[in-house]
């Protein structure tokens, strides 16, 4: 059901050059291993007791709830990065929080900002942080490029 609660999650990231920005986005999804699914963008919670799994091959054309960060550029030589971070609380009956961040620049800095955002969101919830996890992608644009990072929420 759309009202269902995801039971597992995994991280993916990718980058690509493309014929247009949307083709670059598509290419980044392919590079991330999820290019043949229908992403449904969500804001951005890890349900309590949801388990991280290794990336799996999703059914082709499936509707897939995803929290994602995406950036594209058509400036040759520009470096772009996308990152997502998860903050998980010590209290395992509470949900985790996913944050997304993108910018020009290198992945280390962009990923750090996403991690800080996730930590800050736990602080707003007055939850102690057990762990922060994150992933990022960086791309130096040739003509038109994209970078993408995501948390897939799976059943």
């Amino acid at each position: 059901m759309i009202y269902g609660i995801p039971k597992t999650y995994f991280f993916v990231s990718g980058f690509s050059e493309g014929y247009t920005r949307l083709n670059a986005f598509d290419g980044a999804l392919l590079n991330a291993g999820i290019g043949n699914t229908n992403l449904v963008k969500v804001s951005s919670i890890i349900p309590p007791h949801s388990k991280e799994i290794r990336p799996i091959e999703l059914p082709q054309g499936a509707l897939v709830p995803t929290a994602y960060a995406y950036v594209s550029s058509n400036i040759p030589g520009e470096v772009i990065s996308a990152a997502v971070a998860i903050a998980l609380p010590t209290n395992e009956d509470q949900p985790g929080l996913i944050m997304e961040y993108t910018a020009q620049g290198h992945r280390e800095e962009i990923e750090l900002i996403a991690r800080n955002m996730a930590r800050e969101g736990m602080s707003m919830r007055e939850q102690e942080v057990k762990e922060i996890k994150s992933i990022s992608a960086e791309y130096k644009v040739k003509k038109i490029g994209a970078a993408f990072a995501a948390v897939i929420l799976w059943q």
Copy 2:
């Protein structure tokens, strides 16, 4: 099923300061009481015979179809508002329409525009309006802030 038809709905609104715009959005969701769910943005119909309920505590991490208005700003002192309005038709076999509006300015004006938009949508459907309902949130930004108003479509 994603193809399912929501049976109930309720209004929420909120506002927040935040570390980044996305944290302010997250804070506004928390302030609205839905910060621990996965919102799925939809365009924007109240199914016929769907009933308004009081806001309920949604399951943590659930996928929640939502029509929402969201605005953020990083201009200290700026006043921002978000509103959603529903127009319900006299003919109860016809759907209601949700409209969203955001702008700088005070909630009364922004909410009135959302209400006019919903009324106008019923007029495009050649449906007589039985009732207009709405909600809004206003926020005066300190450093980075957000305002949020939504109709949750529930089962």
Copy 3:
């Protein structure tokens, strides 16, 4: 289930004048025959063995996964167009790809670009193209207008 896989699809397109940009969007959906549903935007795959059907009347208020292109303008006299294209592979066990494109200008050119984008996406997948299908809408703005083209993913 949100994780379900759409089994059929159909094309729609429409355009409208409106009281605001969102009303013009709503009007374009009405003009396209899907104005009384809750569109859930997806990125953008035709599952293998999914069948094209003629446009059907969708249940009012249903949650409907849709790949769509949307453009609006408030410049009187401006011509705007929206197009979606599908590329289907020769290998029917592989998915098709939906691409969206919008711009100022006439539908023939915009639709051609969407078709080229879809072809390019098949090329990135190293899949031979069996067929390209597309639809578009064009609108000349009076005060505020919108054009819309979509592929509805249905059960």
